[in-house]
Point group: C2
DNA sequence: TGACGTTGGTCAGATCTTCTGACTTGATAG
DNA sequence: CTATCAAGTCAGAAGATCTGACCAACGTCA
């Protein structure tokens, strides 16, 4: 539901291609490193886990899915040993989802591949245009990401 | 599976927010116009139907889904009256998926909302930065979209 | 012209993702 | 202390997507 054909594609659709390409590259590298098969949905949740752990509700909100969906995906990640749930010391109702050791390995791979891909993009666009792109997207995020 | 936290987010993730925002706005407007509920997946297929119709296989390829998935989504769109399948005069095996009248109404709404959203973005970024953003994304597409 | 590999598309079955609604338990404000 | 709100879970259903197996029409090359 977006995108005329030919040259003048709408900006929303134009944003889609790089995102898809990046996600595919990261997922492929993680799989190639022997970490079985992490699904895109699992990845999108996992990518939002903060250094000290994050509440399920917060993960759901940031990823724009329901608590149930987030809970289900965390179940899968937990079963596979990538994350763990620990009690939140500040609220007995809540639990924090934290990266486990195995999860940290995957994060390291993801960061490396992200850097590689960005380098390729920068090489294609040139330093200056790449920097401008980052600036513009960051500013655009101010009005397109409800969970900054 | 992408994205550090804080400021320095990776470009792939930064691309995600505008895309998501655009898709959500278009879908909301279509729903508000009384066109029941078109799902994101249906929209992504429908958006790739050309003016004279497009083969299922081509739709699947461009949307990066299997023929089966594309066929399933076209079934739904056809049942809802948004598209129709007609025989391809040049190949008896193939059929062309074309927009029906009802579908064209939706396309018109989508185009209008896309333009509105782009105008908002341009207002936020400034004319020049918006133009540069479009240029950079278009060039990036050269290396991130396998089906240009 | 007819056998063979290719291409457009469907059928069947499975898995993954996501949602709505109802519920439990703990936190918090009057 | 009670009414309400927030964090999560349970249950069930609908969507979206995949793999594998098939069929029919196309194109080609001997």
């Amino acid at each position: 539901m977006s995108g005329s054909h030919g040259d003048g594609q709408n900006l929303g659709l134009l944003c889609f291609y790089p995102h898809r390409a990046m996600e595919a590259r990261v997922l492929a590298a993680v799989a190639a490193a022997g970490h079985g098969h992490i699904t895109p949905a699992q990845g999108r949740i996992a990518a939002r886990i903060g250094p000290r752990g994050t509440r399920l509700t917060d993960l759901a909100e940031q990823a724009l899915v329901t608590k149930q969906t987030a809970g289900h995906l965390v179940d899968q990640l937990e079963r596979a040993g990538y994350v763990r749930r620990v009690p939140d010391p500040t609220d007995a109702r809540a639990r924090l989802v934290q990266m486990a050791e195995r999860g940290l390995e995957v994060v390291a791979i993801a960061r490396r591949v992200e850097a590689e891909v960005e380098a390729e993009w920068t090489a294609h666009l040139g330093e200056e245009a790449a920097a401008q792109l980052r600036t513009a997207l960051t500013r655009l995020r101010e009005i397109t990401d409800p969970y900054r």
